[in-house]
């Protein structure tokens, strides 16, 4: 470490070598890979997700629940002692990143998402008997705006829009004649533009010729609040929201 940072300083005077120095520095920081040190005693042929997928967390923060995957063989029985490696985009941290499955065939890791808000495609890989088996897992990180939206949704929206009840909050969903759409309902909300969502929040259901059971929030929420709510709904929608984007004429 000392030697390499000394090397970094020596390189700095030669400016054209700065990138090289950087790559050295990156080299200093990477922790030793543990996968090579682990000796797998068994191999499976399938990898399934036990729990911990589809969580919503905050950027740069550990998810609430650990990610648990299970290695199975052809008969679908759990395989203990198989090697499982976790991979993700830059910024995602697994603790541990590689491990052997426990006696019940499961590998458990704590996931910390990166600093960028959005969906994270993570993968778990086990060597398998003949070829590597990969499992894709999706987690979502909320940035500041989406998290503000999340807390506003908890206060103003989810009592009706979330059909699930919690010990602290009984859902009003079942009591409504016209069922509201959960904020995660991508099939409906993805088709609505931001302008439509804004007007239904500001002016209530009748603004879009929908039920008056949805009250107007234009005098209760600020414009920033409404943007945050929409950003939150877009972030957690399932299937994922694909913004139309700006289309420019090519040169």
């Amino acid at each position: 470490m000392m030697k390499q940072s000394a090397a970094c300083i020596a390189f700095r005077s030669a400016a054209w070598l700065a990138f090289l120095a950087l790559s050295f520095l990156a080299g200093c920081r990477r922790t030793a890979p543990t996968a090579s040190e682990l000796k797998a005693t068994a191999a499976g042929t399938a990898l399934v997700e036990s729990s911990g997928g589809h969580q919503v967390g905050a950027t740069g923060t550990a998810l609430n629940d650990p990610l648990i995957v299970q290695v199975n063989d052809d008969q679908g029985t759990a395989v203990p002692g198989a090697l499982v490696e976790f991979h993700g985009p830059a910024g995602v941290n697994f603790d541990p990143a590689a491990m052997l499955t426990d006696s019940s065939g499961q590998a458990t890791t704590a996931v910390t998402l990166g600093a960028i808000a959005g969906r994270y495609q993570l993968s778990a890989i086990t060597p398998g008997k003949s070829r590597p088996v990969t499992l894709e897992i999706v987690e979502t990180a909320l940035g500041f705006q989406e998290r503000l939206g999340s807390s506003l949704a908890d206060k103003h929206c989810n009592r009706c829009h979330d059909p699930e009840s919690s010990p602290e909050r009984v859902s009003n969903y079942d009591n409504l004649e016209v069922k509201p759409h959960p904020l995660t309902d991508g099939n409906t909300l993805n088709k609505m533009s931001d302008a439509d969502l804004t007007s239904i929040i500001l002016h209530g259901g009748p603004a879009l010729n929908r039920s008056a059971l949805m009250p107007p929030y234009g005098n209760t929420l600020s414009a920033g609040d409404v943007r945050a709510l929409i950003a939150y709904a877009r972030a957690v929608s399932d299937p994922p929201y694909q913004p139309a984007g700006t289309v420019y004429a090519r040169k």
Partner: protein
Amino acid sequence: MRLIRKYLSSAWLALFGDPVRAFGVVSLILLVVLAIAPAKDHFSQWRGYQRQYLALIHDRGDAISLRRRFQPGIHQIWLPDLGVVDRCTTCHLALKEASLADVGQQPFRTHPAIPHSLDGFGCVICHGGQGTATTVVEAHHSKRDGEEPILPTRYIESGCGQCHQNALPGTPKLNLGRTMLRRYGCVHCHAITLPDGTKLVATDHPPSLAHIADKTTREWIYSWLKDPQAYAASTTMPDFKLSDADASDISAYLVSTSTPMAGDVAAAGVQPRSNPDATAGASLYGESFCSSCHAVQNAAGNLVGGDVGPELTRIGNKVKLEWLQAWLQNPRIYDATTPMPHFRFTPQQIAILSGFLQAKLDSDYASNVHLDQANASQIAHGRKLIAGLGCAACHEINGVQKPENFAPELSTIASKPLAQIVFLPGMEHTVPRYIVAKIRQPRAFGSSVKMPQFSLTASQTDALATALLALTNRSRSIPDNLRVAAIQETNYQPAGHAGKLMNELACFSCHSINGRGGEMAPDLSWEGSAVQRQWLMEFLKNPNTLRPSLIRRMPRFNLSEDDDKELTDYILTVYQSPSIDPELAPTAASSPEIVEHGRQLFYSKYACQSCHIVDTKTDKGYIGPTLTQVGSRLTAPWVYAWLRNPQTLRPGTTEPNQNLSDDDARALTAFLMSLKGPGGREAKQ
């Protein structure tokens, strides 16, 4: 050797032997030396990034407008008031380019939406790091004197906390951390003075140990000290990692110095021990809504109930029956400032409830603890330990003074110079790492460290670290106009006999009035304008349910007729809102047409039935209170003012402001005031 010298001398002759040639060579060297500075500049890191950026936008559809907004050279945000000199935007070129939102590659990412502008606040104010630096390493990772590496994203909310002392809806982690600093008693030992000069005050209520022997046994104290979480998983009492002998000595000191409560406690409380009647006890426990404040572990191991009072899962292991009965009779005799109300239970109720609570025990807990009688030197050693560990910083203990500034002050902990911190071997040398390690395992920093072990989850530790990282030097030097002060709890105290009654009933544990009190129940500052006298009298005697979906509810106190009247009169006279004008509201007697019009508005135009129940047969919404008898509960001026703008009467209420016209509000008020409850309405029809 000779050979080398020969070569050198011939090289010297070849270069400088001839004056003309020497002049040429020296000129060449001068040229090269002169070229170093521009070359260094040309190949500097930030130029490289600016070239990369131009290459990145080259192929994009909006390349022309992106290139028009691009300015080559060093960029700088200079804000003298804030002490900000940030050149981050030299390389982070796309922070404001919304059309590059899909680019994931740093340093060209777009900044996520935040309520502040980059030009107004700069970057380092939230992110840390060195704003003036123009290389990646110096800007992000410098650890030289007085410099701090960039703040990890997980603590980014601490940036908000430098100016915002109030709880923001977008910073849940910071808010949790700040609540924990006060609730876990951190500020009993560590003083924290906020930038505006106010001191953080603890919100927990560590019990006085002056009369502890009345309450519990030495064996329980010993087991509790050894492992507080084993008795109550939810307790905020930390583990001091005491040896058996030390725990025994401390318990001996506490018991030996405990003074019996003055006379009437024991006498007043003693009831004949009844057979614990489980069903009667459970139903009294439920009726009194003990679980609004106290939690109990259920069969599945989950805690059910509130966290205002202590967990009661194993209360039978702890308290002595006589004490429990005296406590239930009137908790304020043992502890004058307890958040527990004086329920005014009848002797029979006390017998039932104390029997029920005494049966809540774990027969294994502390069953193998046998302590010998302590001698004088052991007791003296116990006192020494108590003074050394700072027990008296939280608890009142006979014979031990409350220590002042027992632990280091944390008012500017986030700016503590790295040179002053002793890091553990192998630990990254940054303040956040240090804070987290210290919270997680304080005793790892040496056996002489007095800070006890708290049992916190990883997210709680993160939250605490976030709150502590907001305590920077910068937070003290920012201009006053940027500071958003926390909402300070007032020391409001109602006067007279009613005020005494409200203290006894611990109204402020749940309700907030004039800026003082809890958040569990509605704010009562203007309750006098809102409710009718007859209803309030009835409600105080027997609080019935207004919101069926709520789990935590108002308990029933056995109030005497006089007390009830006194309290009602006080609330109706004193807690009047100045913004409600009785003249503006519709008169009580409204024509049936207006009432019918209001009904139409209620059901169709405003669809109030999605949250409120007016007719129990058809309506089902239960977010808001049930309105079947609102006409005999609320006053017309209040209903009218509420409909016009609910937030002015109760800021933060869930009901949206629907911007009703005056006519609509009048018609709805008329309709609502016609709802006199099951008896009233049917009689009318």
